[in-house]
């Protein structure tokens, strides 16, 4: 697996953990352990996301790299097979 895919899959793993914790916290809003885990995963996700976007371009349209060209439209989109 190439470096870009490895980094993206790390972000996906943290973001999934965050979403699962979000659903748990919705019905357990006073669970301090879950809240601590959420904070930890959020820091990791934000850090990796920053690295990814600096190297490979935007994951959201709100990330604006210092270029003259709009990069949001660049391939690959999530449904594209990388090899194709």
């Amino acid at each position: 697996m190439d470096e870009q895919t490895t980094l993206l899959e790390q972000i996906m793993a943290y973001d999934f953990a965050l979403y699962d914790l979000q659903l748990f916290l919705n019905t357990h809003p006073s669970d301090t352990n879950a809240l601590r885990d959420y904070k930890m995963a959020l820091e990791q996700s934000e850090n990796l996301r920053r690295q990814y976007q600096n190297r490979y371009g935007p994951l959201t349209a709100r990330y604006l790299p210092n270029t003259t060209c709009w990069q949001w439209i660049n391939d690959p989109w999530p449904w594209n097979n990388k090899e194709v």
Partner: protein
């Protein structure tokens, strides 16, 4: 509102086309127990949810179902992509091909188009949440049927992830139902 993140919720990298499996999986796109029905059901029902926990749960599970819809669409697309028409005919998926080509269209595996008749949205939160619990079990069963006919690990892996999410959502809806019932009892609704 929603902001788009340029990634699927779980990795999907299917390299071996399998048009018959694509059509089987298609029911989770636009079929009765599919992700589109799930998302519309929860996102519509959330407007009449009475507690903050229930509003958040319906909102956020409804949102996750949209990410699952994208995963299913991605799988159908990658399983069908570039397969020659004659090969589709040989595999008996040519009836779908002559209507939609190799596009992703919200129907079930028999080609029956998506309909909002698959879902209900009532003002009564107890009725809604019991429907939601049943919906998660029906989706879990569908993923188990799909897993029982799938061979490719690249197909089975995301299907297992989606099956597991149905179990987690069922758990969260159960907790939400209990919270809503306790709130309604304490306020002497009846």
């Amino acid at each position: 509102m929603w902001l788009y993140d340029k990634k699927t919720q779980y990795p999907i990298k299917i390299t071996k086309p399998d048009p018959r499996m694509a059509i089987a999986i298609l029911t989770q796109y636009g079929g009765p127990n599919g992700e589109l029905a799930a998302s519309l059901r929860y996102l519509s029902q959330r407007f009449s949810m009475p507690t903050k926990e229930a509003k958040a749960t319906l909102n956020d599970i409804g949102t996750e179902e949209l990410a699952h819809l994208e995963m299913i669409g991605t799988m159908v697309h990658q399983l069908m992509d570039k397969v020659p028409p004659k090969e589709l005919e040989r595999l008996h998926v040519d009836t779908n091909f002559v209507i939609h080509g190799r596009a992703v269209y919200p129907s079930d595996s028999n080609g029956v188009p998506f309909t909002a008749a698959y879902i209900e949205s009532m003002e009564d939160p107890i009725a809604n949440l019991n429907e939601d619990l049943a919906a998660e079990q029906k989706a879990r069963a569908t993923y188990e049927y799909l897993l029982s006919i799938a061979d490719d690990p690249d197909v089975k892996d995301p299907l297992r992830f989606l099956r597991e999410r149905e179990v987690v959502h069922y758990q969260r809806f159960g907790e939400t139902l209990r919270i809503v019932q306790e709130t309604m009892n304490s306020k002497k609704y009846f």
